[in-house]
Amino acid sequence: MNLLLFSLFREKKRRRVVELTEKMVVDGGTCEWEGRWNHVKKFLERSGPFTHPDFEPSTESLQFMLETCKILVIGAGGLGCELLKDLALSSFRNIHVVDMDTIDVSNLNRQFLFRPKDIGRPKADVAADFINSRIPGCCVVPHFKKIQDLDETFYRQFHIIVCGLDSIVARRWMNGMLLSLLVYEDGVLDPGSIIPLIDGGTEGFKGNARVILPGMTACIDCTLELYPPQVNFPMCTIASMPRLPEHCIEYVRMLLWPKETPFGGRKSLGLIIIKFDMRLTRPLLTNGVVLDGDDPEHIQWVYQRSLERAAEFNITGVTYRLTQGVVKRIIPAVASTNAVIAAACATEVFKIASSAYISLNNYMVFNDVDGLYTYTFEAERKENCSACSQVPVDLHFSPSSKLQEVLDYLTESASLQMKSPAITASVEGKNKTLYLQSVASIEQRTRPNLSKTLKELGLTDRQELAVADVTTPQTMLFRLSFTS
């Protein structure tokens, strides 16, 4: 695996060493000073017993890192800020960063490229400015966008992509994008089309870092079971049997807010228009202002009502902080864990770009609640992975099963965990949308299909279903396999 990776990089280096981007001229005057890259050079210009078997020490490696190697950082938050710093100080100059968010005051305890005066500004822009001014010669290019707003032409230009995301959906999308860039010639994967993906994640004092070689090693979806779905409280508990302060807060968020529509909006004439879908975390409001977790007035309202609800049931423990935490699904975060995980990821970027050492194979977990604990293992590829195995996944249902059952399987199965899948199939030669949630008019039109059986919908055994979802940039193919 590593030999292949090494040769892939060599090839890319040879092809691209002649391309010099305009800003990457190593300028003796302003950008360099004596000894600047001494710490890095010792790894690029010397050999040692633990280095990669094919590594050849040379002075060209540093040039490659400084001038040619192009890295993409996804996310300019807790991990992203650390990653940008780490990469810039490891001699990478050609860096792009993508982030769709703006800066919030609660970011400042760890996202150290931001200051109070930057609140409200796009993270990508501020981060890039800071790095470029602190690290002479470094050129970070910001993109204030969602990852889904960029296309394959964009992603294809990078040697390595590092993710510091806070959402599994986004990770899966990125994973799917890189898989879609793979080129197969006569069934053989062209190593030149592989873009290594280094992925980091943190939560409180826990974190993980992994190296993914799309098409070769375990991808995000291969190990989806490592991220079990978020558990939401059962509706009957929230509606009539609260026991914990959290239940009271969820009641106000999900039931009381849509009913009372505070801060504007019209109440419907005595009828409460709420659609209940247990899989969604928000009810579909058909009138009224949506609850904004970042608006202190909204949180204050929810807090007060939650206290009232709690008092009704003699429940203690509702606080403002808890209220905000539940409404915004806040995950606690601290600078140190982000520093550790980003550093591990950046080390891998350096190893792969320089081919100086064998890279992490392929998953490391970290936890410093009790001492410091790390565990490193090789996550295995899943034979029938819905993302990377290239084989359409079989869906086993009886012809008398309702379409709703198929939908439930797509969203609830641990290995798929789709969010709001749109299902289309070819029926009697025509492409038919069986169900689609994201457009209200189509949702209304196709909703009756959910209670029809697969047979009634005209579906046949072994036929393909195409499913689109936010968790993947490409449509996923499934094959219906009728059980008796």
Partner: protein
């Protein structure tokens, strides 16, 4: 001022959810000393300044070199030639205006010569890339003054940390997977009464299905005990039978088909842990048996006074058990039944804490201290965490380095495993020894395979450690590093060390003990006791 507190509350929100307002207060009252503003040093400090420690002081006699600026985010190229402590302080201070930054343009050796008590004022001292002799001198001063000392070093792709603290107590260890304290094997009187107030057989379906699983297990356990000579289910066979016994209690509809009773399913699922006997954890027993617990004086820390009070409680009112924790997990139940059950435990916990309080009062009186010296709040917190108390003790550096007391057993047993990180510990020790003799690091002269490194290792008394197979690879690798400090390894250590310092300052979560080695080549690590 209210305004500054509100904005700090917002800024620190994400970390307050981890260590609470009291943890943050401890941080804001802390003064951290960093010795040597290398990349490792400034990265550690960054992760302390961001969360808002009260103050820091950088001690560094070096001037900034071009090489320093190349791997350090907190030095810029117009600092070259200036004192490193001063240069780094500016850019670190800029990270957080709540923090007060200071610097001393002096080497630690000079300070140790002229004013060793300078170091007594700090909450924790972090020494980065200290030569062995300085490290030992400083270690001795800090040990006598009971100031925690964290030694850190990045050497090529290896990170190293050593914690030196005589005794560090932790009340709030926040364990990841704590067992619940439900007392099903020894129900206290109020719990027994509460259980008796339920009659499962005469309940309507709605109530039956919304009875907390704890009550269900308690009821069936009582029946089982009466039919099994007061012997609870012990082995797998008996527990299976007990689970089946509960299952048979699930209501059936008119066709004899069992209803959907989630609370009963929860009861069955929880049988294993519910039947765990209530006992004082071994770790807490060890603490009960320690010298500090049994010999309370007017100098004793509150921790030991409270521990002794809990021990006395265990032997008296507790009947062999710790104070009841008072919390129960969420479970399927209607609100009233759950809250009532929860209150039974809460009230018992309050009672037990009050009894412990009386013991605390007695102890304080006996050593001539006023009862207010330890607050009710602290005693309640202590009781709630009684099962999770931890005390960390590290050997001094003198003990680690002395030929008489070196931990040979730990070293030789680790070396049985060829992948053990122990080899890097020995390499780093040899590197330090090399530096003491040659005033430079191996691999920094023109020829970078320094054979004299092997000599240093031998001088350290390497033979007893049977290192021969590993020395070759390890020492060549070490020479290749040539004392390089790659930023990413410094940053990994920066995060790790900072969090350990926060644990020391806040007395929450458990610090490592006593040596941590990070191997960036394999992305593995080890904690060793040396």
């Amino acid at each position: 001022m209210a305004a500054t507190n509100a904005s700090k509350e917002q800024k620190y929100d994400r970390q307050l959810r981890l260590w609470g307002d009291h943890g943050q207060e401890a941080l804001e009252n802390a003064h951290v000393c960093l010795i040597n503003a290398t990349a490792t040093g400034t990265e550690i400090l960054k992760n302390l300044v961001l969360p808002g420690i009260g103050a820091f002081t950088i001690v560094d006699g070096h001037t900034v070199s071009g090489e320093d600026v190349g791997n350090n985010f907190f030095l810029s190229n117009n600092n070259i030639g200036k004192n490193r402590a001063q240069a780094a302080t500016e850019l670190l201070q800029e990270l957080n205006s709540d923090v007060s930054g200071n610097y001393v343009e002096e080497s630690p050796d000079k300070l140790l010569d002229n004013d060793p008590e300078f170091f007594h004022r700090f909450t924790v001292v972090i020494g980065v890339h200290l030569p062995e002799s300085t490290c030992l001198r400083l270690g001795s001063v800090l040990w006598s003054a009971s100031v925690p000392f964290l030694v850190c070093k990045t050497y090529g792709l290896i990170g190293y940390m050593r914690l030196v603290v005589q005794e560090h107590t932790v009340i709030e260890s926040h364990p990841d997977n704590a067992l619940e304290d439900l007392r099903l094997d020894q129900p206290f009187a109020e719990f027994k009464n509460h259980i008796q107030s339920y009659d499962l057989d005469s309940m309507a379906k709605k109530d039956h299905s919304h009875t907390p699983w704890v009550i269900v297990v308690a009821k069936y356990l009582a029946k089982w005990l009466s039919e099994h000579n007061s012997q609870p289910p012990k082995n797998y066979k008996e527990k299976e039978a007990f689970r089946q016994f509960i299952r048979e209690g699930i209501l059936k509809n008119e066709n004899g088909v069992p209803e959907d009773e989630e609370n009963f399913e929860e009861a069955i699922k929880n049988v294993n842990t519910a039947l765990n006997p209530t006992k004082v954890p071994n770790s807490v027993e060890d603490l009960f048996n320690s010298e500090q617990c049994n010999n309370i004086t007017s100098q004793s820390l509150s921790f030991w006074v409270m521990l002794r009070a809990v021990k006395d409680f265990v032997h008296k009112e507790g009947n062999g058990s710790l104070p009841v924790r008072g919390t129960i997990p969420d479970m399927i139940a209607d609100s009233q039944k759950f809250i009532n059950l929860q209150n039974v435990y809460r009230e018992k916990a309050m009672q037990d804490a009050a009894a412990v309080s009386k013991h605390v009062e007695c102890l304080l009186q006996s050593v001539g201290k006023p009862p207010e010296s330890i607050s009710e709040k602290d005693i309640k917190l202590f009781c709630k965490n009684a099962s999770f108390l931890r005390v960390v003790r590290c050997r001094s550096l003198a003990e680690e380095y002395s030929v008489d007391s070196v931990n040979k057993d730990e070293i030789t047993s680790c070396m049985d495993n060829p992948d053990s990180e122990m080899v890097f510990y020995l390499m780093l020790r040899a590197v330090d020894r090399f530096y003491q003799q040659h005033s430079r690091y191996p691999g920094t002269a023109k020829v970078y395979t320094d054979l004299s490194l092997k000599n240093s290792l031998n001088q350290m008394g390497a033979e007893p450690y049977q290192l021969v197979p590993f020395i070759g690879k390890g020492s060549n690798s070490t020479c290749r590093y040539g004392a390089a400090e790659p930023h990413t390894v410094a940053a990994f250590l920066g995060g790790s060390a900072a969090q350990e310092a926060i644990k020391i300052i806040s007395h929450q979560f458990v610090p490592f003990s006593n040596t941590f080695i990070y191997n960036a080549m394999s992305q593995t690590s080890a904690t060793l006791q040396l």
